[in-house]
Amino acid sequence: MGKYVVRRLLMMIPTFLGATLIIFYLSFALPGDPTAGRCGERPCPASYVEWFRSHYGLDKPFLVQYGIYMGRLLTGDLGTNYYGNTVIHELAIRYPTTLKLAVIAIVAEILIGIGAGILAGIRRGRFIDSLVTISTLVVIAIPVFVLGSLAQMVFGIKLKWFPVTAGDGTWGQLLLPGLVLGSLYVAYVARLTRTNLVENLRADYVRTAYAKGMQPARAIGLHALRNSLLPSITYIGASFGALLGGAIVTERIFNINGVGSLIYRSISQRDGTTLVGAVVVIVVIYMVMTLLVDLLYGLLDPRLRHE
């Protein structure tokens, strides 16, 4: 187990290098000069553009820029963005907010998603099953920007149950956006859980348990559920990284000063330094989450052993 973890941690190094290279390349390949638009609706003077490009090293070839960036990164310096703030400072302000948002979404996935999935699975074909099916479908079929705007209008402005926007990033403010962000994944988890549960309830070992006279609740809990939850757990774990990067639309609608809006802004401002920094952190978080999920997998399914 310990050896396995160490090996996985070591494997993060090439992944990290690959990720930074790809993201760095993507941000390098973005069309549009970062100085365009910095001067309002008119083009910037040539002297300003020249100064800007040399100041931020944009006049150097791609690999040289990447080399300089990685060199700085090794000393823990994520660079300074076009607004004169260090990227570390920006990330330190924004990551806690987005992490809160993701935590709310994850909790919703676990409570609502798995809960609804189990209910629907146990009562297959009944009303509650249809209800879960229909509501998950509706959530999946409505694009997130429509869902977010509707939620903001209905629950924020009309009913006044939730704050309209979440500029301060408190838990109370983030509750509604978190649910919106997580809604798609909640629906997926519910469906995944239901499907697997239904399948496992009919598996031989559960039938055997029933035949042996085991209480239904115990049969479901002990055997069917444990096996049914494995794919759901993988999914929830994997969704964590996606939540961080996928918060772009939600954060824009609710004016949340998190990583999503930072990424959106740095893409539209061609602020490569910030973009790479923000995404690299997502990659790291994602890799760690994946490792945790894989470890959990081993614990839940005795058939899988990490050597």
Binding site: M11, A29, P143, F145, M153, A187, T234, V249, Y286, M287
Partner: protein
């Protein structure tokens, strides 16, 4: 619909496909879904059968008019007939949905099976590559791809669809990959697989005839749901300004154009009809996927 059944069941003995058909046709839900899918696919193939109006002929004088006898779904912001746009919008949206779901299932499924079955170094490398693509924001990828191979209003439909599919698959495959990998890993230790291996079956055969069929269920379920969500994601790309060009009629574009709160309050029909079409399509595909799966899975019968 027998086509779908036979292609999905191509790997199996003929009798199983026939059995499955028998099971399915007795379920009313199957017929509801099948009719809807046929309807929308027919719209995608031959929209002119459903309406005589041109979705691109618009008169601002009719802007935002409510449904009436002349235009049963009313007019949109530009004064275009919403019924015509909903009918014609099916093509691009359904193409994007089907091809993305198919390509992501194939790519993710294949690589996931490899990673799950072989394990070790292959698994490690593939998993880490998946991590990278999973964490790159879709928006970033869409802008870069869209600018490296720019779309213009003159680009033909297939060209635009391929591009959107490409972007969605590039950032969507890690999803199906992880799912397939997980379920292969779960199936692999089962007795029947061990038995087949012990009997000396070659790895390819073990994988194709024992592991994949038994590990495929979650992939099928998630892919049918994904199909719908990819259509919705295409709308989100339009919302963010990196979707299909305006010359192509699609539900996604129409939904995104009608989704401002001010529009929803004053002219909800502009959003309602394309959104309802999208919802129904998603619903139909998911139900179909579910029914086919139930019918194909010997364990469930």
């Amino acid at each position: 619909m027998s086509e779908i059944v036979t292609t999905t069941a191509a790997e199996r003995p003929r009798s199983l496909g026939a059995d499955a058909w028998d099971v399915m046709r007795r379920r009313p839900l199957f017929w509801v879904a099948a009719v809807l899918v046929v309807l929308f696919v027919a719209m995608a193939i031959a929209p002119e059968l459903f309406t005589t109006k041109d979705p691109r002929s618009c008169d601002l004088a009719f802007s935002r008019q409510l449904p009436s006898a002349g235009a049963i779904f009313g007019y949109d912001f530009q004064g275009c007939d919403i019924f015509a746009r909903t009918v014609y919008g099916a093509r691009a949206s359904i193409l994007v949905g089907i091809f993305t779901a198919l390509a992501a299932a194939l790519l993710g499924g294949l690589l996931g099976t490899l990673a799950g079955y072989l394990g070790g170094a292959v698994d490690a490398v593939l998993s880490r590559i998946a991590d990278i693509f999973f964490s790159i924001p879709l928006l970033l990828g869409a802008i870069v791809v869209g600018s490296v191979v720019p779309l213009s209003p003159n680009s033909p439909l297939w060209r635009c669809v391929i591009q959107i599919v490409l972007v969605l698959v590039l950032f969507g495959w890690p999803n199906t990959f992880r799912l397939m990998r997980g379920s292969v890993m779960q199936v692999k230790p089962n007795e029947y697989v061990q038995a087949a291996r012990a009997l000396g079956a070659n790895p390819f055969r073990v994988t194709t005839s024992h592991i994949v069929p038994n590990a495929l269920t979650p992939l099928i379920v998630v892919s049918t749901i994904d199909l719908g969500s990819y259509i919705a994601t295409e709308a989100t790309l339009s919302f963010l300004g990196v979707g299909l060009p305006g010359t192509i009629v699609s539900w996604g574009r129409d939904i995104s154009a009608a989704s401002g709160i001010g529009y929803i309050r004053n002219a909800p029909h502009m959003l309602l009809f394309p959104a309802a079409a999208l919802c129904l399509t998603v619903l139909a595909f998911i139900i179909l996927g579910e029914v086919v799966r139930d019918a194909l899975d010997p364990k469930l019968r």
